[in-house]
């Protein structure tokens, strides 16, 4: 069972040796929650991601860099502060199985886990490339000035699909973090954990957008344009395939006004697509046809319109029957509903992010209460759908990555 260690840069290692090595106590004692040795390393790593050449090449790494600035880290730790009778500690060894095709999400989950003081083993897919490779280079560079405890406790490895390796790492960890599709989560779950250990899973999710028709009507050119740009960033950045990328767009308000607003919105979005020089490859163009015709064949939509290859809009037959699968980059089922309350029966446990434009916060809070945690974990403004946060899929990650020990303030 040999695996390739990529951070700290190394060659092939035996899984058993790796597990033994990370179990050894590092210089300066075991990692603590919010350990300075880790904080300093993350800050140095963030600085490398924010270097202009890197940030220009991979804008998503700049977002990651911002997320890991000292001030942001302090905020994340402060949010997990405890009362005097409660002490927060790391869980121990955390095994991360991130998705293959979003290059950076593994860094967020690893960084928060490291910040919580855990020893970590991250399995990076052999298929990952581009930004992931840059991340690993930056991590290894930052290691030069880091406390030796970082190299001792943090590992990123790559191995081909290998049940024995996954089984060994699963059996040895105190928390397993699995990102990816439902099938991926189910596959990984075949490997038992130690009795005290548990899973934190991030399975398939679906996300939507909602626009206030009245706000669109009232919005000036600038607002409409910013709305379209925000929507473009949310939906086209990961080819509309990220869990948080909006797919179906709900227009909330008067149907006649919505019909006009939609036309204007599609025109605005098309202009942004041209401006951003978004390219729809022929294979993607065909994929979009296959998907759009497919949902039409199923009766879920009754009208398909293409504004060029980049923007496809589909008219839902019933707003409650939303397709939750990926339909190709730039494919937007649409429906008009009278009020946000009409969304409530549509939403399922699987639904993650609602990107909104033109609503008051009070309306959105009311919607959240009406949903009562049954679905939709994040309600965000247009342009923020893909912004990662320490609370994700309903979990406060830093808390999930730690455990509590209680010592009452008065012990007799």
């Amino acid at each position: 069972m040999k695996i390739t260690q990529r951070f700290p840069a190394g060659g092939e290692v035996e899984v058993a040796d790796l597990l033994a090595a990370v179990a050894e106590e590092p210089d300066g004692g075991p990692l603590r929650f919010g350990d300075e040795r880790i904080v300093d390393f993350l800050v140095a790593f963030a600085r490398k991601l924010l270097a202009p050449t890197t940030a220009r090449r991979f804008p998503e790494l700049a977002s990651l860099g911002f997320f890991l600035r000292r001030g942001e880290i302090a905020k994340a730790l402060a949010g997990a502060a405890t009362d005097d009778s409660t002490l927060r500690f790391p869980r121990g060894l955390v095994f991360h199985v991130p998705p293959a095709n979003v290059d950076t999400i593994f860094v967020y989950s690893w960084a928060l886990s490291a910040l919580a003081g855990n020893r970590n083993v991250v399995r990076i897919s052999p298929r990952s490339a581009g930004a992931a490779q840059t991340v690993i280079e930056a991590l290894n560079e930052a290691l030069a000035d880091a406390h030796p405890a970082v190299a001792r406790t943090q590992r990123m490895v790559t191995y081909d699909r290998d049940d024995a390796t996954t089984a060994a790492l699963s059996a040895g960890c105190d928390l397993r973090v699995v990102w990816g599709g439902d099938r991926a989560v189910t596959e990984v779950r075949k490997h038992p954990l130690a009795p005290h250990s548990r899973d934190l899973t991030f399975p398939d999710r679906a996300s939507f957008a909602a626009i206030s028709v009245a706000a669109w009507q009232a919005g000036d050119r600038r607002w409409r344009r910013d709305t379209a740009i925000g929507f473009y960033n949310d939906s086209y950045w990961f080819d509309q395939a990220a869990c948080a990328s909006p797919r179906t767009v709900f227009w909330v308000g008067d149907p006649a006004a919505a019909a006009v607003a939609r036309e204007e919105f599609v025109a605005e979005l098309s202009a942004v697509v041209v401006e951003k020089a978004f390219v729809t490859e022929p294979a993607m163009a065909v994929q979009k046809r296959v998907s759009a015709y497919g949902v039409a064949a199923d009766g879920l939509v009754h009208s398909i319109r293409f504004a060029g290859n980049a923007v496809a809009t589909l008219e839902l037959t019933r707003p409650s029957d939303v397709p939750r699968e990926w339909l190709g980059a730039g494919t937007f089922p649409m429906a008009t509903i009278a009020s946000l309350a009409d969304l409530v029966p549509v939403i399922e446990r699987k639904d993650q992010t609602l990107s909104c434009a033109g609503f008051d916060r009070a309306e959105l809070v009311e919607l959240a209460h009406a949903l009562a945690g049954r679905g939709i974990d994040r309600i965000v403004g247009f342009g923020s759908a893909l912004t990662f946060a320490g609370t994700w899929d309903g979990y406060d990650l830093v808390r999930e990555f730690s455990r509590l020990v209680t010592v009452p303030t008065t012990v007799s």
Binding site: V97, P98, P99, A100, N101, V102, D103, I105, S125, P126, R127, D160, R161, V178, W179, G180, G181, D182, R183, A184, V185, E187, V188, F202, D204, F238, D239, Q240, A241, A242, C243, E281, P282, A283, M284, A285, V286, Q287, R289, V290, A292, Y293, G294, A296, A297, D298, G299, V301, H302, S303, I304, G308, N309, L314, W326, G328, A329
Partner: protein, 357 residues
């Protein structure tokens, strides 16, 4: 070409004659399928193609992406009239196409394939050399697309001899015996392009076999031969030089339009459409028909599919029309240039699923 094949040619219609002959049939087929296949009807309605719509030309007919047959059950016959379901896994591993044939459709596809091939084979069933292994058709339970192709083509010959033995090794003695018995008169050779190259060309060259009376029908694409720097021209040149084989016809066809094959003309410069079929090359940006010489996605058109809505299909193959009414045979003639890569999104799923993660 022999005179008999000229008389029987199914490659006679000029492009103008073809448009005139096929458009009414294809328009009627579109109406038939929309009425008989509800999902297909819903697609047309969604695209704003209303019942009774007329079309100005073949290129104006609504097309269906060929992959729809992998994702949806599309049939225009009642379930209890289905006589045969053809399945093909394709190369991407994303599931199999399912093609539904009733008795009439099954008979028609064999009949029209035969009529198409008679153009180059003549009316007589010829002794046949199969460049494959007999085991490909023996195991009927795990019937591969290759097996189906071999079995379908076997109808057009007689006294079949397989070039490969049960262990996929060339059986030189069997080939020698076949040539000794039939090699002095026209005989038929069939196989998949890469197998023909690997197991017939190299063996014939190395053993000095004379294939000059053979008529080779082959298909399957050039992808596996590119590594060996063998393209169509080189394939033909070396067969002619080293084995005497000059009557070579590549063809292009797919299970989703079973019975329709686009056949290479005698000079080997292009693929031609039989009189009941046509091609449209589309610009993948505008979806408009490309002019001669401009590559695009291949749309295959055939009047044959009546039991499933496969009469106008957009493939994921790239091609180019080389000319119209100016080749070996009338109509459009074209080349296949390769395959579109699969669209891959950067999503957050598929940690362990998918190809060899």
């Amino acid at each position: 070409m022999t005179d008999s094949s000229l008389n029987d040619s199914l490659f006679r219609l000029s492009q103008a004659e073809r448009e005139a002959a096929l458009l009414p049939v294809l328009t009627e087929l579109t109406e038939h399928h929309r009425a008989a296949c509800e999902p297909y009807g819903r697609i047309l309605s969604s695209l704003g193609v209303d019942p009774g719509t007329g079309f100005d030309g073949i290129a104006d007919l609504p097309w269906l992406p060929v992959r729809m047959f992998k994702t949806h059950e599309l049939r225009s016959v009642a379930e209890d009239e289905v006589f045969k379901i053809l399945t093909s896994s394709g190369t991407t591993g994303t599931g199999a196409s399912r093609i539904y044939l009733d008795k009439d459709a099954a008979a028609a596809q064999t009949r029209m394939l035969g009529a198409t091939l008679r153009t180059v084979l003549g009316n007589e069933r010829l002794p046949m050399l199969m460049v494959d292994t007999v085991s490909i058709i023996r195991n009927r339970r795990s019937f591969s697309a290759r097996g189906a192709g071999v079995l379908g083509m076997a109808n057009f010959g007689r006294k079949h001899v397989y070039v490969l033995d049960e262990n996929d090794r060339p059986d030189i003695e069997a080939v020698r015996r076949f040539l000794a018995e039939h090699g002095d008169r026209p005989f038929l050779i069939f196989g998949f392009t890469f197998m023909v190259w690997l197991y017939l060309y190299e063996v014939a060259r190395d053993h000095g076999l004379d294939l000059s009376n053979g008529i080779l029908i082959h298909s399957g694409g050039w992808k596996k031969l590119i590594d060996r720097s063998v393209d169509n021209a080189e394939f033909r040149r070396r067969f002619a030089a080293d084995t005497g084989l000059t009557r070579i016809h590549n063809y292009y066809g797919m299970i989703e339009q079973i019975g329709t094959v686009f056949l290479e003309g005698p000079s080997g410069d292009s693929l031609y459409c039989p009189d009941f079929a046509d091609v449209v090359i589309r610009d993948p940006e505008t979806w408009a028909e490309q002019p001669v010489g401009e590559p695009g996605l291949i749309e295959v058109v055939s009047t044959l599919p009546r039991s499933y809505p496969g009469h106008v299909l957009l493939t994921e193959d790239l091609g180019v029309v080389n000319g119209i009414d100016d080749g070996d045979w009338p109509g459009k003639h074209f080349s296949v240039l390769g395959r579109l890569p699969k669209a891959e999104a950067r999503g957050c799923s598929d940690t362990f699923t998918g190809a060899a993660a």
